[in-house]
Every structure is written in C-alpha cells, then in structure tokens.
Symmetry: C2
DNA sequence: GTTAGTATGATAGTCACACTATCATTAAAG
DNA sequence: CTTTAATGATAGTGTGACTATCATACTAAC
C-alpha cells in the first residue's frame, strides 16, 4: 500500500554529520545498526562490524556519525519522536483524559501496535534497544553538554505531553512530570527485569508483551491519581 | 571512637581474583577506583589511570579484578550489601512497618546518614557512582550469565526485604517487588534528573539532598498502599 | 639461615577499537 | 563535458584491554 502522506520524524541535526535519511547508505547505516546493536549489545557494537554487515567501510560510516554514542542518541531520539507522533495520532479527537493516558501507556509499553511507514526501521528491535540501552545515552559525564545541545528534547517533550494528561485528570497532583519520568523508566526496567531478573518484579512479559507491564503501570498511575 | 565489633560486608567471591579487602593494595584499588570513577565517569575510567593514581601498575590491578566491569559490579554489590546492613540495623527493634519503610526510603535516598566503619570507602562518592553508573552493571548482554553467578544477589535481597515491609503494611497489594524495584530505580534517576535534566521532574535536589526525592517516593508509596 | 612461596613492580608485547587522512572511483548536476 | 559530491579502498595513529615474563622484596617454614 502506498502512503499518501509521509510522516517525517525530526531528529536534532547536531546528532549527525550527514543526514542519514537522505541517502541509501545513510538509511542502511541506521537500519542495520538497529539490527546489530539489538543483536550484540551496544558495548560490543563497532562501526567496523557494522561496515562489514552493510558491505561498506568504517570511514563511510564516520561520514554520517561522529561516533557510536551519537548514533545511539540519534536512534533513541528518533524513537522518542516516533513515540510522540504515535501519541498525538492515537489520542487525536479523544476528549477523555483517562482514555488518552491509557493510550499513552500502551504506546510506551508497545502493547498496541501501530503500522508504521518507516520501511527501513525495525521498530521492535528499536524498542528493545531503548529498553536495554537508552539510559546509556544520558548516563555519561557529557549529559549537561548534550542536554544543552538539545539531544534529549524528544524524551522531555514526550514526558511533558503525557504529564499534561495527568494534570487534566488530577489538576492538584503535585508530581506530574516526576511521575511520568518514573513511569517511562519503569516501562523499560520492569520489562528488562521480567526477562532477566524476574525476582525483582511480579510482572512477567512472556513473548511480545502480554501487557503485564502496562497493567502494572496503569494500576500505579490510576491508584495515585484517583485514590 | 573505636569499633568494638567490626562489620563485614560480603561480596560474591567470583567478582574478584584476589580479595581486595585482604591487602593494602587491594583496599587502595577499591578506595581510589571509587574516587576516580566518580570523578571521570565509568567510560573514561581505565586501570592504567587508576594505577597511576595509586602509584602501582596495570598488571597489579589485574591481579585483583578481571576487568573494570567486574570492578563496577563489585562496587555496586558492596553498596547493596552495605545498604541492606543499614536497613537491618536501623529498623531493628522497630515494630511499626510504616516506620520501617520510611527508614528504608531515607536510607535509599541517603537522606539519613549513618556513621560507617569503612575507612577506605567514600560512601558519598559510592552513592553517586550507584546513581550514575549502577544500571550499566546489569544492562549488558551478560546479564543472564552474571545473574546465574549471583552477582546481583545484593540488589535482589534488599528489594525483597523492603518489599516485605510493603506486604506487612498492605498484605493485599499485588506488586510489592515491582513497586520496590521501581522505587529503588526511581531513587536514582529522579536524583539524576533533578541534577541534569530538571524538566523531567518537579523534585529538586539542592546539595547534599534536601530530601525532595525521598519526599516524592514516600508520597507515591503511601498513597498507593493506603490511598 | 637457607629455602620456598607470595605479592608487587617493571617492562614489553598483542590485539582490537576509535578514529583520521589520503587518494581513487563513480554518479549526478550544471 | 566538466565539476562536484558521495563512496570505497587503504593505511596509519593512539589508546584501551588485556597477557606474559622476569626481577625483587618480604614472609613463613624447615
């Protein structure tokens, strides 16, 4: 099926040297880096290995991304923009704030699936990268500099948006943003724990997400907001 | 004041090649690695730099720790054991489960300070390492293997203990362990966000911890359990 | 007191990662 | 038809992450 309107996901321009969306090689770098990072983990991932994978060279990849850390931030940024787009799209024309919040939670946990138009991006693999690796994007000594450059705009923007739903439901709730950052982080580590350190949680995510993480988060949030 | 009884913090033996507690050099490695990692960050930290710092050699450090990742897990493990000891000590003889839970939260957030007997360990620096770096200890492709070796025992044990307090307060609460892992993780990233990405939270931790993180966490937990 | 063992230091070497630089080739744009 | 931009090919540098070897100093045992 042909797309009539093309969705454009915007990522901070300082995250790349050449825009990877504009060329075949660039899209190849992005799509295969997702596959490879998901497969071998970010620490074991190198531009040399990626180059081999796509039959290109290290030097060519360096023409797009300064280093693998910038690439990771690029991928994670892309993910947050995509998430925000999904939230906008799926909550559009919905009045009920609780409904909107529920939709947002499902999107965060990837419980509901949205047919995307990004042929070169494996969204499932990217989601797993975000779960496993995204905190490494900001847990560095460069956070403050990177934040000044606006690298975390997507994450902050999404949190702000969902925190807005929270405030619509409970205008007196004191911690809408803290709650949302807690929930977003929890959506990742609860999934991680359920798969790798199951004694840290009652939630069990068996294959593809039966939705126990989102159930748990939903329970937390609504109990907090409505008593 | 002299200690009459000496506290022994136990760390999984597989985390080191030679027990660093047993020698001067070993304790030096541990104490200076804490200072150095806190200062330059885990990614920039190398055994060579540490060796220089303590006037020793790379080779000597490798006789104690297989690699810097194992050293990180060692430090984090030590921290969790120490935290659990503090919880045990400070909640001893207290009957009221709510009080115990409050104490545990304060300990997690380092709001209450405990005079320790570990001269060679800078607990404040170690706490900052745990906030900034501890998730890197398990967010790797080796989690499952490392978990099998018991490297995360301390973390799991502490969560289980505090989850026990939760169950004492609210026996019907469905997610005691998930809640506790969420809270422990939140105690780290809320502090991190308040310092580096403040738009992600209402909490602000000005110097030494005025305790806003613990206030927030306390609010969450008790609203959930009694709300 | 000699010997044997253990901890550390000193040095050097290997391999892989993280780049940087240069030049050749090809394809598209004017 | 020429210029320019994108890629490939190759090589080189510095550093990190180790491993190996040998010398030395101290300690503990016989």
């Amino acid at each position: 099926m042909a797309a009539i309107a093309t969705i454009q996901i915007n990522v901070n321009e300082k995250l790349f040297l050449r825009n990877p969306e504009h060329t075949e090689l660039g899209r190849n770098i992005v799509s295969n880096s997702i596959i490879l990072i998901e497969k071998i983990g970010f620490e074991n991932f190198t531009f040399k290995k990626l180059a081999k994978e796509i039959n290109s060279t290290e030097a060519s990849i360096y023409r797009y991304f300064e280093n693998k850390h910038k690439l990771l931030i690029y991928l994670v940024s892309w993910y947050w923009s995509w998430m925000e787009y999904q939230v906008d799209f799926q909550t559009n024309n919905i009045e009920d704030s609780e409904k909107k919040l529920n939709i947002a939670i499902d999107i965060l946990c990837q419980t509901s699936r949205f047919d995307p138009e990004f042929l070169h991006i494996n969204e499932d693999a990217l989601h797993r990268i975000v779960v496993d690796e995204s905190s490494k994007a900001y847990l560095t000594k460069d956070v403050d500099a990177d934040n000044k450059e606006g690298f975390f705009h997507g994450y902050k923007s999404l949190c702000r948006k969902i925190a807005g739903f929270v405030t619509e439901i409970a205008p007196d709730f004191k911690y809408p943003r803290a709650l949302m950052s807690t929930i977003v982080e929890a959506s990742h580590h609860q999934k991680f724990f359920s798969e790798h350190l199951p004694s840290l949680t009652e939630v069990s995510e068996s294959e593809g997400g039966s939705g126990e993480v989102s159930e748990y988060l939903r329970y937390l949030i609504f109990k907090l907001l409505k008593g």
